[in-house]
């Protein structure tokens, strides 16, 4: 009996560590994304559930310090401008540890949001629990979610577009194409794309 108990505890520990392991690859297209409750630059807490009118969300893991994130700031602002009114607001989440990356602390985030005039929430993943659940590995890293009966379903994962250096030379606007397809009810051509980005600082 005792042996059985020890066995059960061991199994529980193994299962637990398996699930908390950072090797967890995160969401795939089609998975249901969990909601979160994170602090915004205005001091308020924000959840996806705060947007009852939304048809979905453009969740962007981004930060102050990564040159790729900086290169995409204006395009993230433009995404929110274009799609918030159509039911797909941008929700930006800063996943880095502020200890490991002081340029990404809450004060710096506030300053950045103000300087750039962010019109969307810029949240801090303070406990660094949200980004691993999504499977974000870098900044910027985008997840387009659609509200369904089952929950917020992941519809697109990846890059914003195919040219970080020159916005005017972009050939494929991956996120826009995905959201447009969702709005039109047509299939998304590219559901998963990749781009170079900065590792999330732990």
């Amino acid at each position: 009996m005792k042996l059985l108990k020890i066995g059960m505890v061991l199994i529980a520990i193994i299962t637990f560590t398996a699930f908390t392991n950072s090797d967890n690859p995160g969401y795939k297209v089609g998975d249901i994304a969990t909601d979160f409750n994170l602090e915004n630059v205005d001091g308020k807490m924000v959840s996806l559930a705060n947007y009852p009118e939304a048809k979905g969300y453009i969740v962007v893991f981004t930060c102050n310090t990564c040159p790729f994130s900086v290169a995409y700031e204006d395009r993230i602002i433009a995404l929110n401008k274009k799609y918030a009114s159509q039911g797909y607001p941008v929700i930006a989440i800063m996943p880095n540890s502020a200890t490991a990356s002081p340029g990404d602390n809450m004060e710096a985030m506030k300053a950045r949001a103000k300087a750039k005039g962010f019109t969307f929430p810029y949240l801090m993943d303070k406990d660094q629990k949200v980004y691993p659940e999504y499977g974000a590995s870098k900044t910027p890293h985008v997840y387009v979610l659609q509200k369904t009966k089952k929950g917020n379903q992941v519809k697109y994962i990846g890059a914003i577009d195919d040219n970080y250096q020159h916005p005017e030379s972009v050939n494929q606007k991956y996120v826009e194409n995905a959201v447009d397809a969702l709005l039109e009810g047509t299939p998304i051509k590219e559901e998963h794309t990749r781009a170079i980005g900065c590792t999330i600082k732990v």
Binding site: T17, K138, G158, R194, I196, T199
Partner: protein, 176 residues
């Protein structure tokens, strides 16, 4: 997991300290020559880089993707430099820089000079990363630092930082 990361971090610190002390001595001697040497960057698109990822000779190739703007990359560079030095005969280290073209002259070249990098450096300038990232490895999300180790058709890809012992252990497996 946290504990593991902790140890890793401590090992990292250790290694970095050792290394910077060692380097300081070398640097002062070499610096004079290096500043006068003109560095010509080898700038390639992915089609031209690809052969470097598929050599068929007997060497073990260690391809590290990095950039001067990537702090964890810069931190682990001495590890690759040491590997290049210690395994000169059977291992070929190639540092593939993903720096921005506008920073080649202002950041990348000065960085190579200042740190007196000895491994081969290739600059990859190819915008369409969605097409070429999976050609390096299906497992690569695009985050750097990342490293490909291969010998002929045996390949292993790592989207993570290395300390010297970890890298040595991985390379050793290809040498045996």
């Amino acid at each position: 997991m946290k504990y593991k990361l902790g140890t890793l971090f401590v090992m990292f610190l250790f290694f970095n300290c050792n290394n910077s002390i060692k380097n300081e001595g070398d640097l002062s001697i070499v610096k004079i020559d290096e500043s006068e040497k003109k560095i010509e960057l080898k700038i390639l698109d992915f089609d031209d880089l690809e052969p470097f990822l598929n050599q068929q000779d007997d060497l073990v190739y260690v391809i590290n993707f990095w950039a001067t703007w990537c702090a964890p990359c810069v931190k682990e560079l001495p590890v690759f430099e040491k590997l290049h030095k210690d395994y000169n005969k059977n291992v070929k280290v190639i540092l593939v820089s993903l720096d921005f073209p506008r920073q080649y002259e202002t950041k990348l070249i000065p960085f190579i000079k200042e740190n007196n990098l000895q491994s081969e450096i290739i600059v990859l300038n190819d915008m369409d990363s969605n097409s070429w990232i999976p050609k390096v490895s299906e497992d690569w999300s695009g985050a750097i630092p990342s490293t490909l180790i291969y010998s002929k058709n045996n390949r292993k890809f790592f989207e993570k930082s290395f300390n010297y012992n970890e890298l040595k252990t991985e390379v050793q497996q290809f040498l045996n």
